[in-house]
């Protein structure tokens, strides 16, 4: 490439402008812009759901933007460009959800694009392992056995291989989405060294992290995102400033009053729960209490909810529901355990609703067994129970309960899902990000319902990607960090920044 020195200065390594991208009804990016220079380490910061991962996927071409453009070294990339083509432009990306091929060996994964070849251009399978070992050695990670399949590696080692895979391409633009989330400190140091080395060699390194100290230690510049848009790009940004920029203005919706804490019996006691990202979580919650689970993304919140619902097996730990020890092997066990545990997930389509079925069928599904006699469902009793709930929750604005759920708005779908669990009389409700992608009015309905349920004596475990909601709605907040309860805050916290600060700091002033 023939470029004068001056124009080289001006050319951004990678630049996105005016990028819109929606998933279903959720607008993940709204006119987002981003630009990073060659030879810099650029951190991308923001709360959960701010659009960081989506922006990264647009930058590297895994998804296309609905609107807006992406330029790589001043060259605009076409709308439909597969990651294969970006590789040609020198862009390499390590993704948050790992992109190693599970059934291929480490060696095959590392050399998929440029395997060692002999005569006739055939892959020399015998050379795969030695070449992969040479690469692993070059990056100082000889401890990984290149003959194992990716599925056989631990999460940390898989992350290391994923990183070696992208580092080994010696890219001009290196994008790392949450590279340290699965790494122990020692490997974080190892990665930092390589990031700096590449930066010094002229590579543009972009990364996201939820650990502020890493951003502070590594980044030359920081871009903060919020609600799918660019908020600020700075060279020097203090943690306090960053927290303000990330959490943004106070949420405008009003919240129900949760200052009075009901004092009921202990509904759920969890001790030393392990498994997935959970490294030993202990807490208890009473009937009538709304207990918030805060913390940055990927600190084990999801694993906690899934484990408590029996959808994921605990590796260790004890669980008491209503004073009795229980073992949860499958969701059925949770639904039937003592007081009954119900789980409302964030991803309505994947985890909860049957879109082609009617509102009524969807609501009645979890209780079919109870209202059926001799294997037949009593439609009359079912209809009665459902109708009263639908009215109470204002679902579907007076539409028939035989409407397919797929036709409802996201907010109404969420209400249908909540109604299902209300019908089960479960006394422990696990609400995981139930307000995601829901409009403000519906949010208000859902908050009221949650407060009402708590007043009736149900114990509610509440997680939201909007820290504001946890701050205002919960009697008590557990802040998870790296799979443990790092801090417990008495609520309502009101000031979301306190939760964000507690999520970031090593020793919080709670």
């Amino acid at each position: 490439m023939v470029l004068t020195e001056k124009s080289e200065m001006q050319v951004m390594a990678i630049e996105a402008s005016g990028v819109d991208r929606a998933f279903g009804g959720v607008q993940a990016l709204r006119g987002a812009s981003f630009a990073a220079r060659p030879a810099e380490i650029h951190a991308l910061a923001g709360e959960n759901g701010a659009g960081k991962s989506t922006l990264i996927k647009v930058l590297c071409g895994v998804i296309t933007a609905d609107r807006g453009k992406v330029e790589i070294f001043g060259q605009q990339v076409r709308r439909v460009v597969e990651p294969a083509a970006r590789r040609g432009l020198g862009v390499a990306t390590a993704f948050q959800e790992l992109s190693l091929i599970p059934d291929l060996t480490v060696a095959e994964n590392l050399l998929l694009h440029s395997p060692p070849r002999g005569r006739l251009g055939l892959v020399r399978r015998g050379r795969l392992v030695p070449e992969a070992e040479a690469i692993l050695h070059r990056y100082g990670v000889d401890y990984i056995d290149s003959r194992l399949t990716a599925a056989e590696l631990s999460v940390a080692h898989r992350q290391v291989v994923e990183l070696v895979r992208v580092l080994a391409t010696e890219p001009r633009v290196l994008i790392l989405d949450e590279p340290t989330a699965a790494l122990p400190d020692k490997q974080v140091e190892w990665l930092s060294g390589h990031m700096r080395r590449l930066r010094d060699a002229g590579t543009c390194v972009i990364f996201t992290s939820h650990r502020w100290r890493e951003i502070e230690a590594l980044a030359d510049r920081v871009t903060v995102m919020r609600n799918g848009t660019h908020v600020a790009t700075r060279e020097n940004l203090s943690e306090a400033e960053a927290v303000t920029l990330m959490s943004g203005r106070t949420f405008e919706g009003t919240y129900p009053d949760v200052t009075t804490i009901a004092t009921g019996e202990t509904a759920l006691r969890v001790s030393d729960l392990r498994g997935g990202r959970l490294q030993g979580v202990s807490f208890s919650m009473r009937q009538g209490e709304i207990l918030g689970v805060g913390g940055l993304a990927g600190q084990g919140q999801r694993d906690l909810f899934l484990t408590l619902f029996g959808a994921q097996r605990a590796a260790a730990g004890n669980l008491e529901v209503g004073g009795f020890p229980v073992t949860l092997r499958r969701p059925r066990d949770a639904i039937r355990a003592g007081l009954g545990i119900a789980y409302v997930p964030e991803d309505r389509k994947a985890e909860g609703l049957f879109l082609p079925l009617s509102i009524r069928d969807n609501i009645a599904l979890a209780t079919l067994a109870r209202r059926s006699s001799g294997g037949l469902v009593s439609r009359g009793r079912e209809a009665q129970a459902v109708a009263s709930l639908v009215g109470q929750l204002r679902i579907g604005a007076g539409r028939s309960t035989s409407q397919a759920v797929g036709n409802l708005s996201g907010g109404n779908q969420q209400k249908v899902l909540m109604a299902r669990w209300l019908l089960t009389d479960a006394q422990v409700l696990l609400l995981f990000d139930v307000t995601r992608g829901v409009d403000a009015a519906t949010k208000r309905d859902i908050f009221d319902l949650i407060a009402q349920l708590a007043a009736q004596g149900k114990a509610i475990l509440f997680y939201s990607s909007e820290t504001e909601e946890i701050a205002h709605l919960c009697h008590r907040v557990l802040v998870l960090r790296e799979g443990r309860v790092a801090v417990e805050l008495d609520g309502p916290v009101r000031d979301a920044e306190r939760i964000v600060a507690a999520s970031l700091k090593e020793v919080p002033g709670a």
């Binding site: 970006r86 790992l98 070849r117």
Partner: protein
């Protein structure tokens, strides 16, 4: 070498080899007890020649299944190519071998149509190939409405000579073809796409192109099968393709190829194909009414797969205990 042997026995194709060995032993026992002597070279040759078409289809089917798909249209492509082979190769203007090449190209094109619909239009493989199965079968009937046709004996002598084992050469070439394919970058990518397509796309594997190529190769394999089929039976039948649908899928299953994609080897499916052909002979020599052939083939499939699943579970439990 013992290391290589151990890998062979514990590899994904091991189920296919085990089933083939068991079936071969049963065949020898049944044959010897019924006829009072060991099978003759004529018997071996006839098994070889009748099994070749299924071996080819099974290779194509394995490739498709390894990418996580399924190809039901093999029946249609075989039938179409059988019809064209039986009606065109003999006494047309072109030389027979030019025609054979044209038929292979035809099969490849049919397969590529599947691939384009699956990869670009993103229609589920089972739907796509079910529809094209119908289309290709219809084309076969249009070309050859009633069974008939012929094949030049020169072609026959080269492909499936009834007295000289030329079939062995073709079988070896099929095995070699697979081994070569496995050692191309394309081969690695086929497994990558089948194992986790999203990840494969994310790291820059051109998944759509790989899938189109795989379905096209399956079409090529079906065309090869058709040519060998006509060569063995010396005539064509537009309904010849039907049985290949189930038997090719059965071969793949018996051969230990995972239906979730990403795991398995066509070598296992080839062994499975030979075993399935042997089962028919076993049924014949055991004096069972040929009407029940499909019943016994089905039972054989279920038992083989159950044994395989059981063995896999035991192996996993043992590995877990270590």
């Amino acid at each position: 070498m013992p290391d290589r042997l151990r890998r062979l026995l514990s590899g994904p194709a091991s189920l296919g080899y085990a089933v083939l060995t068991a079936t071969a032993v049963t065949y020898l026992l049944v044959y010897t007890t019924n006829l009072g002597h060991l099978p003759t070279s004529f018997d071996y040759l006839s098994i070889l020649n009748t099994t070749l078409p299924l071996v080819f289809v099974a290779i194509g089917q394995s490739l498709v299944v390894i990418t996580g798909g399924i190809d039901l249209s093999v029946g249609g492509i075989v039938a179409f190519c059988v019809a064209v082979t039986a009606t065109r190769v003999h006494g047309s203007g072109l030389t027979p071998f030019a025609w054979l090449l044209a038929i292979l190209a035809l099969g490849t094109a049919c397969g590529a149509v599947n691939g384009v619909i699956v990869a670009r239009a993103r229609i589920a493989p089972i739907l796509t190939t079910l529809a094209t199965l119908s289309i290709f079968s219809g084309l076969a009937l249009w070309v050859l409405p009633v069974p008939g046709g012929s094949i030049p004996s020169g072609v026959r002598m080269v492909l499936t000579n009834p007295t000289v084992p030329t079939g062995l050469i073709w079988l070896s070439l099929a095995v070699l073809g697979w081994l070569v394919l496995r050692r191309t970058r394309f081969g690695m990518r086929v497994y990558a796409v089948g194992s986790d397509e999203t990840s494969a796309v994310a790291i820059g594997v051109p998944a759509a192109r790989i899938k189109i190529a795989v379905y096209a190769l399956s079409g090529l394999c079906s065309a090869l099968a058709a040519v060998f089929y006509v060569s063995t039976t010396t005539a064509g039948d537009a309904n010849a393709g039907g049985p290949f649908i189930l038997t090719s899928i059965a071969s793949v299953v018996v051969g230990g190829v995972a239906f979730s994609g990403g795991r398995g080897s066509a070598l296992g499916a080839m062994a499975g194909a030979v075993a399935l052909t042997l089962v028919i002979d076993v049924i014949f020599f055991a004096g069972i009414d040929p009407l029940y052939q499909s019943l016994f083939q089905g039972l054989f499939l279920v038992v083989a797969v159950l044994l395989g699943t059981g063995a896999a579970l035991i192996a996993r439990a043992r590995r877990g205990a270590l």
